[in-house]
Symmetry: C2
Subunit: 235 residues, 2 copies
């Protein structure tokens, strides 16, 4: 299996970086190929803009998704985007490894999503959810969090974590066609002991050893909708 | 009323930019003060990192939120962050004006959130939701979207839009203590006629004229939770 880990944390010695390293080592031990895009180390540019296109289908008015489609077809996307797309297409499993900032990714990783998941290749027209361009690949979030489990869930003050992360789990990963595994969540990281951190890393190792046993999250199937994307009668 | 519009679109001639201009003009006509942070025009840096701190409480290990707290207390945050914080504290109403990218903000605006909504000032400890540091202010999303209303909602293929945007509405704006108005949504923008666009701008103008009639979205109240943030028995 080919695994791409996209890692985004501003502190190279962080626990989040340790998780990235743990995954890299463990997956290699299992015989998998692993590549890491360490966005902070790469000084990855997260700003989607006109500079992303070597050639424009409309030089006077930027519709970002249309220029992505054009640039992808013509091979004229910026070099950093092309390099990340190549890794994305190479991988069978994509892991996004990051600290939760405002119930989402750090901006540098949001920019990877904005710029690398290009229209035309990854989605477009009716090619999304189970018909998305990355169908056949798997994806997983591996996140660190300040909060604790009891703050989430139906009774928790923040509601279910999967709902807060819905824009990523459903709106991004599932939207591209990838099979989305349940997130691995390292809870309460800034506040726990070194011993507790070691236990989380051990849990993460076991999660990686038993990836196939992680039942994917359920998401919409386009067969349940008509051509206008209105829901079809059930049953 | 003082209004801060944070605008993030890579095309200055975009419909999204027209919405920003519409709001600026309309609110000024009503006698309000309006400031605009046009993040693309400002070339705003969205990457939260060590460079954000002129002085560190821990130079060897970066915990971003702790350094935010320290920098805010000591006045040593980066100048661009301080400038945005000043606008944020000045405003009574914050409007985030952006095209929806992957069911969230463009990365440049996520970076504004990551870097400007600093720990210590905006939240910290038990200061969040109704006790957040920005309590008393109002906030609203004004967004453009490729999708159509029937793709959202309980039966829609993407589920309710408010759920997909939950990380922003609840996890960001409400979390800071702000009163969150329902989003203004410009649907199907890339595909509609100039006439339809003019009608959306007119709708937006009316929404701005009747802000006080927009019932805020409901979010958690810390009085309903104990000291550990476990829910208290209802009734």
């Amino acid at each position: 299996m080919n695994v791409l880990i996209v890692h985004a944390h501003p502190e190279p010695k962080s626990f989040c970086a340790a998780m990235c390293l743990q995954a890299t080592q463990q997956l290699r031990l299992q015989g998998h190929q692993v590549r890491v895009s360490d966005l902070y180390a790469m000084k990855f540019n997260p700003v989607a803009g006109a500079e992303d296109f070597g050639e424009r289908c409309n030089p006077d008015y930027l519709v970002y998704a249309l220029e992505q489609r054009h640039g992808q077809e013509r091979g004229t996307l910026a070099a950093d985007i092309r390099a990340e797309i190549a890794k994305l297409l190479w991988c069978d499993l994509l892991i996004l490894n990051f600290p939760v900032f405002w119930f989402s990714t750090p901006a540098i990783l949001k920019g990877w999503i904005d710029r690398v998941l290009v229209s035309g290749l990854v989605y477009g027209g009716k090619r999304f959810y189970d018909r998305g361009g990355l169908a056949g690949k798997r994806a997983m979030l591996a996140v660190t969090l300040g909060g604790q489990p009891h703050m989430f869930g139906p009774q928790g003050i923040h509601g279910p974590l999967e709902d807060m992360l819905g824009h990523l789990l459903r709106g991004t990963l599932a939207y591209t066609g990838m099979t989305v595994l349940p997130p691995f969540v390292a809870w309460h990281v800034p506040y726990v002991t070194a011993q507790a951190r070691a236990r989380i890393l051990q849990d993460y190792r076991e999660a990686l050893l038993t990836l196939d046993a992680r039942a994917p999250l359920p998401f919409p199937n386009l067969d349940d909708y008509d051509d206008r994307l209105m829901p079809l009668p059930q049953g």
